[in-house]
């Protein structure tokens, strides 16, 4: 079995690869932009880091947009989106003056309000950086063994809001906004946080992904 991490030039893929190798020593983990290798893999990870315009642009430039759209509709192939890899699944992001995304899940990507303050009157920082509690909204095989309210590591300024409640798997409340930090539909699960950097909880989620048969 091969797990392909799609390398379209954005993001730190090595952390993701190392974490998946750690939880599934028997699988082959490959970082690739080769369409045949990605098609041949049994599972796929769509990472993403930085600005969404660049991520969408690089996906286009590496001629992988069509393939990723195909993969999203393939109900037999589990796909995990991480960080901007989650945001890219929405219709549209308001970042960089508005960027059209892959349109797999109805929803949008907006920015946290950096003028919001907490109960003590302290300003809430943007980017939202650090360990926050993720509340599980719907049951999902990827939550197996992870309690609701568990902390995961985040670093982002923009967040996802899906239109369809069925797609919202987990959320946080930050700076006056509810962010859907875990979303899922069919064989696709996508998270805003970094499971590869979220210690035991993150490794458990990756282990669940590796054994998930949707």
């Amino acid at each position: 079995m091969t797990i392909a991490i799609i390398d379209y030039g954005m993001g730190n893929l090595h952390s993701v690869a190392k974490a998946i190798e750690h939880v599934s020593p028997d699988e082959r983990v490959t970082i690739t932009r080769d369409a045949r290798a990605i098609k041949g893999a049994s599972r796929v990870v769509l990472p993403g880091q930085g600005a969404i315009r660049d991520c969408m642009g690089e996906l286009e430039r590496t001629e992988l947009t069509g393939l990723v759209k195909e993969l999203l509709l393939d109900a037999s192939k589990p796909l995990l989106g991480i960080c901007v890899g989650q945001q890219m699944l929405m219709d549209k992001s308001e970042e960089n003056g508005g960027v059209r995304c892959l349109g797999y899940m109805p929803g949008r990507v907006t920015r946290f309000d950096d003028t919001a303050v907490d109960e003590q009157g302290e300003r809430l920082k943007v980017p939202h950086m650090g360990w926050n509690r993720v509340h599980q909204h719907h049951m999902h095989p990827l939550w197996e063994g992870i309690p609701t309210g568990e902390r995961f590591y985040f670093v982002h300024s923009y967040f996802v809001r899906v239109d369809d409640d069925d797609h919202a798997m987990g959320y946080i409340d930050y700076a006056g906004s509810r962010a859907h930090v875990a979303t899922g539909r069919d064989a696709v699960f996508a998270v805003q946080f970094h499971p590869e950097k979220s210690a035991d909880a993150g490794l458990r989620l990756l282990a669940n992904f590796v054994t998930w048969s949707p």
Partner: protein, 257 residues
């Protein structure tokens, strides 16, 4: 508010070995960074920062190898700082498994480098180190300036204005070190921490001067820091990260326990 404040142990690394703290006790002679990172990870550290003090350019490969080995078994964020001057440096570190890089002197000599790095790799992985020293007299309104070269060289830059500029240029986080307090164990300079934290929208890490656990509490509560960085109180085995977290939580600070 559920976002936890962070505790970040910091290791000084020279040619791939920990050189400060741990070896003084004789417990770990020239400690292996992988071993130390593993220990802090077990103690529930929220992130780990490495300060690469390797002087020679040739020895940088050892640092990359170290980062790669740590990233293979410690699954929390890793920041590497020290001597980062080019996007190639950053790319090599990120490829080795670092999550963030901390830019110090190069930001002062060439602010555009911060802009370029943030454009290329995203603000989320660009930390700018602010080394500040108080330059005002006791009876004046407090003012801090940026110093480089370990606090020896003044730059004439106002620390608060400089911090704002670095955020405009794309810094995703600021590591604020008081050069007056560094190594004193008298606690953070809460004035400069608060002044910068209030001036910018991005998270601020307080650093320099921690001698006990109350200092960590003050860094967050009075200094307004989002994370606290310390070295010697953890290296010498005085406190574990877990003890520090419990202490902060008892003082009403949201922590990941």
């Amino acid at each position: 508010m559920t976002l936890a404040k962070r505790i970040i142990p910091c290791l000084d690394v020279d040619r791939g070995r920990v050189v400060k703290g741990v070896n003084f006790l004789g417990i770990r002679d020239a400690g292996d960074p992988v071993e130390v990172a593993r220990r802090y990870n077990e103690q529930n550290a929220d992130e780990i920062t490495f300060l690469d003090i390797t002087a020679s350019h040739e020895a940088r490969g050892t640092t990359l190898d170290m980062v790669s080995r740590i990233a293979g078994e410690v699954f929390i964020p890793l920041t590497v700082g020290g001597g980062i001057r080019s996007c190639d440096n950053i790319r090599a570190l990120l490829n080795a498994g670092a999550d963030k890089v901390s830019i110090n002197t190069a930001a002062v000599t060439d602010p555009d480098f911060v802009y370029e790095a943030a454009e290329r790799f995203g603000s989320q992985c660009i930390v700018v180190a602010i080394d500040a020293k108080r330059v005002s007299e006791d009876d004046e309104p407090p003012r801090w300036e940026i110093f480089t070269h370990g606090g020896r060289r003044p730059t004439g830059l106002d620390a608060v204005a400089w911090s704002r500029k670095m955020v405009e240029y794309g810094a995703g986080e600021l590591l604020v070190t008081s050069m007056d307090r560094d190594g004193t164990r008298e606690g953070f300079d809460l004035g400069v921490t608060r002044a910068i934290s209030d001036a910018v929208s991005v998270p601020v890490i307080a650093s320099g001067g921690v001698g006990n656990l109350d200092h960590l509490v003050a860094g967050v509560k009075e200094g307004g820091a989002d994370a606290v960085l310390a070295a010697s109180i953890f290296h010498f085995g005085e406190y574990t990260i877990e003890q520090a977290k419990q202490h902060m939580a008892r003082h009403g600070i949201e922590m990941r326990l």
